[in-house]
Symmetry: C2
């Protein structure tokens, strides 16, 4: 289970990919997520994957391209889940979903990935790392991320037409801050702070908590 292939990960491209490429992809994502891009060498990756050193450059061109390709794929997957949930919420509410449902579409996908039973936990950790390191080409994709976020901004504007748009943008900004950096090393700190009173693992409870907090901030 640990290093086996990720079924369907390359299913979008018709040609069958070399097993080596998958091994490199998975090993790199794992190591990048755990130790950061700059702290992981190509030699570390190929050693973890059990392949030859030159494999990274052969299959991905360069170490930077490898990072970029992982980031592009995971971002796309996350955005798709979010967009799908927002779309469903729109259908469900005659084109004008309430604030809480919009926020749910924003929060639920990454929180589902965060679940320890989920294979994608490491992918989310990778995404957060990649976002804060930013290789110039990463920021470019982060720019297209804006057009993705615009859908949520528009939905919120429609849900609260009484608020000045400026106010809505700022609140969305705050809400994004709640998710992006938050997790992981910060989560450990929370455990120390509360002397282990927080019951982790109950992702649904956490989602409810976040929604309560964010929705309250959006009310008034």
């Amino acid at each position: 289970m640990s290093l086996t292939d990720d079924p369907g990960a390359e299913s979008q491209t018709p040609e069958a990919e070399a097993a080596t490429k998958q091994l490199v992809f998975n090993a790199a994502e794992r190591l990048f997520a755990l130790h950061g891009f700059q702290n992981v060498s190509v030699r570390d990756i190929t050693a973890e994957a059990g392949v030859n050193l030159a494999s990274v450059n052969y299959h991905f061109g360069s170490k930077d391209s490898l990072l970029f390709e992982i980031f592009r794929r995971r971002t796309q997957e996350l955005n798709r889940e979010r967009a799908r949930m927002l779309h469903e919420a729109t259908d469900r509410n005659a084109g004008k979903p309430p604030v809480r449902e919009i926020l749910t579409a924003l929060f639920a996908p990454p929180l589902r990935w965060l679940d320890p039973s989920n294979d994608r936990r490491i992918s989310l950790q990778f995404l957060i790392r990649a976002r804060s390191e930013g290789t110039a080409e990463i920021r470019e994709v982060l720019g297209s991320d804006v057009s993705h976020l615009k859908r949520f901004a528009d939905a919120l504007l429609a849900a609260r037409p009484d608020l000045p748009p400026e106010e809505v943008y700022w609140r969305l900004h705050f809400v994004l801050g709640m998710i992006h950096q938050n997790r992981f090393m910060e989560l450990d700190r929370l455990h120390v702070l509360s002397s282990g009173q927080t019951r982790e693992g109950e992702v649904d409870a956490l989602l409810a908590r976040m929604l309560d907090f964010a929705e309250a901030g959006f009310s008034r």
Copy 2:
């Protein structure tokens, strides 16, 4: 003004520091804040400071120690401001300050640093970078940061004795997420998103907005 010394920066240690050490300190903080720790070489720093290459190792021991020393000092300064404001709020309210004043003590200091007219703007940018890069020794200081945060957690618990402590810890966690990663590259994105409708520079207005949002999340 750009590269002049920082008066009183070493005033806590009685001996007068070499001017070179200050030059290195300031240049390093600036470059680290702008480009990140790993992307700035010792040669970059010494070139920016206009000093000899060996100065970093002579005055600070190593590049890592230099980063750590900058981080330690700035963290201490920020924490002191926050603790002072919390203390004043406690005195002002007979030992039990309301939620909004506690949150103000948490938000106001970094927001004041963020003001473009403030020299410390670069210091805050440095702190955020250093927090997300984390050189193992940094995380150790981040651990003592916990004991600092505990004061705010206790104040919030006293202000909302009706809430289960677990709930208070989580909400504090969310509030911290609003400040830590948020600024900077994210602020640019906000400008794109709102088509430049957000009036930056009005730090007080931003503080009020953040307080409204966070306080609402804490109510209920």
